[in-house]
Symmetry: D3
């Protein structure tokens, strides 16, 4: 079989599945194209996972490129059943498309491939929800641009969970992991006022970035705000505001939004961040909202992880989002 | 001296104690039989600790068998005084009976020894509270069966703190660490409706287990429930309900109920679990309740631990329970 | 240039600074004397940092002596801008004076140097706020004594964030990290009733120490109290009470007050402690209070750290305090 | 496709292969049955790999059960070309049959499955060389017994690379990882004098085991002997002696024969062992010898590994053996 | 002072030096330009160190970009005196020029800067020996090209200590860390027959690369050869052959040539490599040889290191080379 | 029972022993005084072990104070039978006297206790061989002085296995771990020419120390010498020379003599050191020599250890020495 998405490689490995298992685990539930018999029924899929093994565009050294495979290995320990919400994810059809092709020394080519892959996905199967596993945060600019190529008339908003603004200078850094939101604003892809960033904390943004954010009308909430107002209220409010302004909400989860006690495996991880349970609530709410049409999860470096804590959290984020997404579909 | 409990070995090592220390630490306060002069005054003891160095019955590879000794080494850093409740534990007489004998390749024999050890303990010294340090969770089924052998007319209920139901199929796994509650229900030792499980979270139970739990009338609360209702309220309510239905409440603490940021040393540790302070509150409340007659602590794997965090938490759980137990005695 | 503080060595290394950087990071903002041109304008400085690389006076083996340099290396990752309070720290002038000289085998000499260094600092530049980075907790007794040498008529109170009373016997341990508060009380430097300790938890103080604390009228709050009353309320209340009784409040932060999930790099770290966000709030409030005239941060052992978590937390504590201090100056 | 070996499960995962890669890596070269089209041409295979994920029969707690998968993941980093001997392994056809089925709590059943799997392999495809990846050392007794079931008239000898005799009492331990050689001798499967053990060192065998070894005429060489005589000479001599006495030499490699500086990932790893390069030489020589008809590699615990050192060494051992095996075929 | 090398940044930090220390350690001996008073006397320097914090051109994820600073921190533990050869390095004048500027997302620009920096160094101070600390192995191609720009008529040979050929396809990978030697050969910078590679081992080069090496007449020796012939003999022989063919020998040390027991901090580290003492001998011999005119040390990833072992080895390699270089000067 | 050695505390813990075990492990073979019935038969003992939990006198931060207990825990994994030399250590009677008392803040008192303990041991039981487990290297000066107090007329020589001279200035450091040999020479306890140091390597001694060593006639051999001449020859030669000059040889083993690949758990561990097997040979030879009358093992820091490698090596050093000692007795 020729691989139908020429910009992607199949997943590097596939789990052997017991087709008759009445209680499949996540690795038995998530499908891959190599196991499809005959013509692929694309209408069948609800969600497509794409891995992006790129982190050479990270400002600080990162092995986030190894994250897509780390996530694939770790999800073997999970069941696609959310007891806390009594949601059975096996009603969703999720396919792992594999990894977007990357080049070793040509970062611009890597980025073009990412844009093209998102564009192809939305061109050919616009009803399949794209869930992207990074990679560093530079990919978000490329993915949103790919989306806009296919949907030029849609107004896109960003719901960002992050400890940084990611508004650093494109002149200085290029399309790195510190610049994707600036990139989207300066390129006219997204309006500054259509970005809602939740979870900023600590001493990790210069004052000039905050001034820029204010200048472009970007909305943001700190972890201190979250503790006072509650994560539910803040996320619902952001979704509510965004959905009034935009056609599509793109959700981007930078794992450095988490407190490092629960997420040591992020190069920029710090104390004072969100608890994992707060992040799970946040993405669960986003999953439920009909305007959220794409999601990525970035900056998780499995090589820096301790006791596989952050990778497990990454899987949990993905499944929490899908719990909400499943509820949305059944609503 | 011949060891009075033939099914147990003495603790593998004993701490040297300064008999005149006016401020003994935990290792100087907990007694062992080898230091008893003359005939042992069994009426003297309030609590008997038994170690169970068994984890070859664990589904995933585990070194929980090394936990009893890890706990014994770690408790040297603790004082038997709880400042937060102003409770002086030295008023309790606690003896470390040592470890139940295990066989290297005959798991059935290991399990029989555990049942027999609990039965012997309850036969000869029924007024001494048995506090068991595992080992994997398979031991709970054996311990409760041992209790029932001696007290066949007592209705036994279970207060379980766990992220799993432990209701997996006995046919498939045998008496493993995923099956003890199923084992107790199917063997008629405990009624399903007399099991209260608190702390379930995440994606670690298949839907079929939840359906089974519902079918047998098992009660359960998730971490999400705990955050909404408060650990105090939930535990008190479970104790209250149970004490109306049963004669004896058996408390079993699976350390995987904890959030892995505070408990990396558990093979099945995950994000989204209880905070250690919530678990300390829970067992403290159980310690105070007059119906709680036995306790175990399982699935702590010291080899997987980071910075000795989970083992210290294990000691803290034990001492928090004994704080409540001391208050119960003085009430 | 001869180093103006003969009891201190310059910092072991200095970061290369881009003088023209409009967005300096912390290592570019904090000054050192070796980069001063011509005569030093001491009136220019608001805060002086002193490192104390001493931990051979620790009861348990500790590498807290390596902490001052670990903090200096880690602060390169931080910006001197607090987004959560919109405070720009670059308005403060902070100088790193370097490390107080220590002797390898003469602990008494080490301690005398610390007292002398604080006395010299307060003699020559009494308007510069001394912020000391330990080292183990024995240094607090020496620093407060140095302060009192210069200000003999001031009544000094202590705001202590700690899981221990640090009231152990001087006869048994000498001026170790378990005895500084006892040392200050017994030497008549500080009255017991002018010590407020917040954050005690767990089983790490013998009952006799609690009795001594009660006897001398020391005030204390446990983590359990913090969770019930809130860290803000408890810290504000302590500052309020203290400021009515004393002329000067000395703030001492023992990092073992933290829950070990967020602070594995402390020899005595335990479960059940403060969250890092609670500690950040506490020192931020203390920074704002006009009576707080000196601060130290102790018992952080970078060799025991995991994923650099505790060292980053140490920097965060320092910057959170300075955020409050900046607000105090601008109030 | 029904799996042709009913006692085995297919490998838990398979690597995606680029069929057109002119320079395949090991994971692209080793075949699996799920990728076979139509009827499997068994005559095609030279070597069959079987994983045995069993370590609950280990005396000390071990995660060697996770080793087969760890080896499968690690071999992705290797090329099937040995530059030091200029041997291209792609001329060999190697198939990964998957893992012998194990039971969670019935060790006897696990062991029976292992014996049966070896018997089936030798019954149906006696010309395919069986290379088994453990698992703990208990499996060796089971594998040799399976061999003997099919080839009852063959005299089998053992070439053992090990720091232990593995002659401990069957009465005390059962068929554990300390007893396989005793098991084979006492069951009459192998004569004591047909066992050659190389690499014993340190203080890890009681004198009584040495006396037993002498009593049954077992041959052994210590690491000290290896250093004096050279690993080549000692291995060649053992192969030479054995091949005069037996029909078949079974090679068993216990990774604890290695010095722990190069093999931290073995529960019983100690200083004073073989260098990895010595072990590679040893198995390379065994691979060349026509009498060596089966091999296993045991007691590698990837959870205890440091920097993936021991797992990489395990792959290297396997490939070094196959280098010799390839030379044998081409000789 | 404006920095005299515009393509370099000064070292990120400088150690504070005791100018009067009669026994300076390495950090007090190695000079930096910021401490030079008045005009810099360039004739004064024997050796210039340049750091290259680039590893985004590495095929596998690497933090070798953090190595120059890791080396600078670690050399504080060393004395510039080699007892084993009784050589006092303080007779050499060594300056740390700092780091070649890198771009976050433009690898081609990074590489151009490296070439330019070497060209500038050789243009302005051709008598100062350039010792470069990488970074990944891609930099070697850039450095040799920079050299050739200034010395177009010199025939350059390469003495490479490496476990890989580094001859992978430029078409596939671009100027990555797997291709520098191919790059130099294909660009006509160096003739294949003027490359001598020592230390190849294991299964980490495809057969096609070996065929290419043979095709271009490249010379190579494996670790097996080293063990048989001795490192001294092999290195001397290579230096001898090279010096007859070329004007300049460029020494490149890829730390993956080492056995991973002593060098876990290399992404491609494997068992079966050189002992550290063999590598120290090799570079010591190269240091003595008058034709060796430049050196680099690459692929050391301090983030992957264990117990700082590999970083210390890196410093040791540098000082061992300088020991030979000092002997050369005094010969 | 009152403890007969007032300067020592009993071992902090004692292993439970099976008195009837025909194959005791090391922890069952080594005796302690608390298990002696009635009057102690001191003539019965061949060797007395003393622990010295002191490392606050170390120049760099060290937890070597935790080593005596780490060694006691680790020896449980060893048998007292040396297969490589066929020596059964159970013929020796070895007693663990416990730990010399230490003070938290008075290093001079600690050192006096050590001297007094050795003097008491030699006064009361001069025929029992003292084997001391440190602690840092400062203790060696104290132990030798204690010996000389009792045996003032004996000429004492030192066989030192070390990567350092330990000849640093007493004026600068006091009696620290860098000065013990200087201390002994300057105090007239030992003549410089009666010190033989084997294993120096790397860049860890300033030239001035080498000049001092030459000045006082100290003998030394580097690791490079060891590799050329063989460890056997060098050690035998040193013992031979020493025994002609002195009455008593004191053996001191600083674990930093080892290559750090096998001994990461030493604060000053470096590459380029002795292999563990070379050290085992060295101490085995010393054990056999009749002039060697006392031994210590220092500078092992179990907190820095990796995979328990260095602690196991420490036990192996002790047992290798005792193997030789046993052969001496039986010679």
């Amino acid at each position: 079989m020729q691989y139908p998405y020429p910009l992607l490689n199949p997943p590097p490995f596939v789990w052997t599945k017991d087709e008759n298992n009445p209680n499949p685990k996540v690795h038995e539930w998530i499908q891959d194209l190599s196991h499809q018999q005959g013509a692929i029924d694309w209408d069948h899929f609800d969600v497509a996972i794409m891995g992006i093994p790129l982190s050479r565009s990270s400002i600080s050294a990162s092995s986030a490129s190894e994250n897509p495979d780390a996530i694939r290995r770790a999800w073997k320990s999970f069941y696609p059943y959310n007891l806390e919400h009594d949601v059975d994810l096996t009603e969703l059809n999720v396919v792992d498309l594999g990894d977007v092709r990357q080049h070793v020394t040509d970062i611009a080519q890597c980025h073009q491939n990412i844009t093209d892959a998102m564009a192809a996905q939305q061109t050919h199967h616009p009803n399949v929800f794209p869930l992207t596993i990074g990679g560093d945060h530079s990919i978000t600019a490329m993915l949103v641009k790919g989306w806009k190529e296919v949907h030029p008339d849609q107004e896109v908003g960003i719901l960002q969970l992050d400890t940084h603004f990611d508004l650093r200078s494109l002149e200085e850094f290029g399309p790195a992991n510190g610049t994707p939101i600036r990139n989207l604003i300066e390129s006219g892809t997204v309006q500054g006022s259509n970005v809602h960033n939740i979870g900023l904390h600590g001493f990790f943004n210069s004052k000039s970035l905050k001034d820029y954010a204010d200048h472009v009308g970007l909305h943001y909430k700190t972890v201190r705000d979250v503790r006072k107002e509650g994560i539910d209220s803040i996320v619902k409010d952001a979704l509510d505001q965004l959905s009034k302004k935009v056609d599509v909400i793109y959700l981007t989860v930078d794992m450095d939004v988490l407190d490092m006690s629960g997420a040591p495996g992020v190069p920029a991880s710090t104390p004072g961040g969100l608890w994992t349970s707060e992040l799970f609530e946040a993405v669960h709410l986003a999953g439920q909202h009909p305007s959220v049409k794409a999601m990525d999860l970035v900056c998780l470096d499995p090589v820096k992880d301790v006791a596989q804590m952050t990778v497990k959290t990454g899987v949990h984020v993905m499944l929490s989002f899908l719990t909400g997404y499943s509820q949305r579909k059944n609503a």
